[in-house]
């Protein structure tokens, strides 16, 4: 592939991955067209659902880029955040909707600006409590089960944050 200046353009890792997966669909389609079709339909259905969320994330990321300066990120979810940081992480994890992979770019930006690993992990862990899906969980598993598992998720999100942060920082120190 060549760009405007006639120089060859290298494919990014993401594009390579995409082409590999598309090739995989092609191969699966040769052996089992029905399975490939079903997977493709399911993918388009999922994509249609996430497009509006992606748009919201795009807007939020612009807003966060402007508002969350390094200093503000540090104060809310960085080294100086203290207990408040944990509370912000837990509540936002529960309240933010949409699949986690959509949030990775936004969280990546916040991490670059000083968000702590522990709070990142805690926020992501609390995304398991999905308020809109609670009635479905109650229907399948009972109210008691739903309450118990939700409480454990909140408690373990703190252990999770601490443990992930300790391991990541230790392995970083070791590699230096």
């Amino acid at each position: 592939m060549e760009n405007k200046n006639g120089k060859s353009k290298k494919l990014t890792g993401g594009m390579k991955l995409l082409f590999i997966v598309l090739a995989l669909y092609f191969i699966v389609g040769i052996f089992n067209l029905q399975l490939a079709k079903e997977a493709a339909f399911s993918f388009f259905y999922m994509l249609l659902k996430i497009i509006p969320i992606l748009f919201i994330v795009f807007i939020v990321m612009i807003g966060a880029d402007i508002y969350f300066t390094k200093e503000k990120t540090g104060r809310f979810v960085g080294n100086e955040s203290g207990i408040k940081g944990w509370i912000y992480a837990i509540i936002s994890g529960i309240l933010i909707s949409g699949p986690p992979y959509i949030l990775y770019p936004l969280l990546g930006n916040l991490k670059k600006r000083g968000m702590k690993n522990s709070l990142l992990a805690a926020l992501l862990y609390n995304r398991n409590i999905k308020i809109p899906f609670i009635p479905v969980m109650i229907y399948y598993f009972s109210l008691k089960f739903t309450i118990v598992i939700s409480v454990y998720i909140i408690i373990f999100s703190i252990f999770n944050g601490i443990l992930v942060s300790v391991i990541v920082e230790k392995s970083l120190t070791k590699s230096l």
Binding site: G14, P105, Y140, I167
Partner: protein, 137 residues
């Protein structure tokens, strides 16, 4: 000026993220369609082994949490233990093997790998604690 810069930056982030996101979603849907008929067949009835299988199966599956509740509900009806199903739904929502490359590219390889391993272990611990708590209360 600041807004223009932020929009440019965000577009750049999306340019990196979108091909990975689309690739991973395509892969996940292929895996899910392939796996859906095998969910109940992999459980053995062994009290110790089934939660582990549940966590493993939940780790390679992917989708909105509500899907895991529905699959979990069906597994219960087919006689799989609540312990194994709890491990399954916990791993489904907390461990994202398929999304690991995307998570690693934005949050760092060490972070993504550590978080997923810790979440896998926690899915088993929480499953045991939930069942124990339900028995006590």
């Amino acid at each position: 000026m600041q807004i223009k810069q932020s929009i440019k930056k965000t577009i750049q982030v999306f340019k990196t993220a979108l091909p990975i996101m689309v690739g991973m979603l395509l892969l996940i849907n292929l895996l899910n369609v392939f796996l859906k008929d095998y969910y109940s067949t992999v459980f053995t009835g062994n009290v110790l082994l089934d939660p582990f299988i549940g966590s493993l199966l939940g780790s390679v599956s992917f989708g909105i949490p509500v899907t895991s509740y529905i699959v979990g509900g069906e597994l219960l009806l087919e006689g799989v233990s609540l312990l194994a199903v709890t491990a399954f739904i916990m791993a489904w929502t907390t461990v994202g093997l398929a999304m690991l490359p995307l998570e690693a590219s934005f949050l760092g390889k060490r972070f993504a790998l550590t978080r997923n391993i810790v979440n896998f272990i926690f899915s088993l611990i929480i499953a045991v604690l939930v069942i124990y708590t339900l028995k006590v209360f």
